[in-house]
Symmetry: C2
């Protein structure tokens, strides 16, 4: 089982922003795109959604950019996934001809929904920012072991 790409990259963005060293908290969308290894146009959509959720602050202008907000520093992985992975069912309950024929009264669907809740609960105590590496004196890039790809 797998989380969707949107929440996957959203978590990466929050981790990168939380790991930014003091004095360099504000990052451009391009820099974030490189650090999370995801195309720019995808990252800009994610930035817009994270801003709606008040998890990041965006400032415009020449010295502008994106930084993690106080709420973003406190948010948990569980909350982010519950909010951003909005697919209703753990299984794909549709077919080429409409709903799965077993859908009515399907007990598998309910069992999978309970299991998904167990998955989320395991992540409800994990603060996203706590996943960021930030050793004293190291730059973000070094501490994350990043090799910046040439885009």
């Amino acid at each position: 089982m797998r989380i969707n790409a949107f929440s996957d990259v959203s978590l990466r963005v929050l981790i990168v922003l939380a790991a930014a060293p003091a004095g360099a908290e504000v990052m451009t969308s391009t820099a974030i795109s490189v650090q999370v290894g995801t195309p720019y146009h995808h990252v800009t959509k994610i930035i817009a959604r994270l801003r709606e959720l008040d998890l990041i602050d965006v400032t415009r202008g020449r010295a502008g950019g994106v930084r993690i907000s106080p709420a973003g520093r406190r948010v948990t992985v569980g909350w982010v996934l519950r909010t951003l992975d909005t697919r209703t069912d753990v299984a794909d309950c549709t077919t080429l001809h409409g709903d799965c024929p077993l859908l009515e009264g399907c007990r598998l669907r309910r069992a999978l929904a309970r299991a998904r809740e167990a998955f989320f609960e395991e992540l409800d105590d994990i603060v996203v920012a706590s996943l960021a590496h930030r050793p004293r004196g190291g730059s973000t890039t070094q501490s994350l072991g990043l090799s910046i790809p040439v885009l």
Copy 2:
């Protein structure tokens, strides 16, 4: 988060076979394909894999077909998903340029792997066959509330 299509339909196939009424346990691939709402060529691949795992018995010939095996009647949802959903990571840890830049020492990956284990554990006690509706006297199709699509 979502399970992959292969394990999703595999579970459906086992449920349908487990629900087959006495005297009609042997079903053709075509009939299974209709009942699970999935194209025939996809279902035949799933039948081959379930046979490898000894979860179904396949007999050839004019009166041949597919039926659930004793092991198939005992198997749990957790076991099926652990076995058939073989994607390594809960997040997609690759990008267009190779591995995710955050992969080295990534604590998110480990947190997601622990959560996946919680997801599986929730399903380790649920026997697939127990999810099949099979009221006394009702045919499988009626009991599953199926409307057979015209393929």
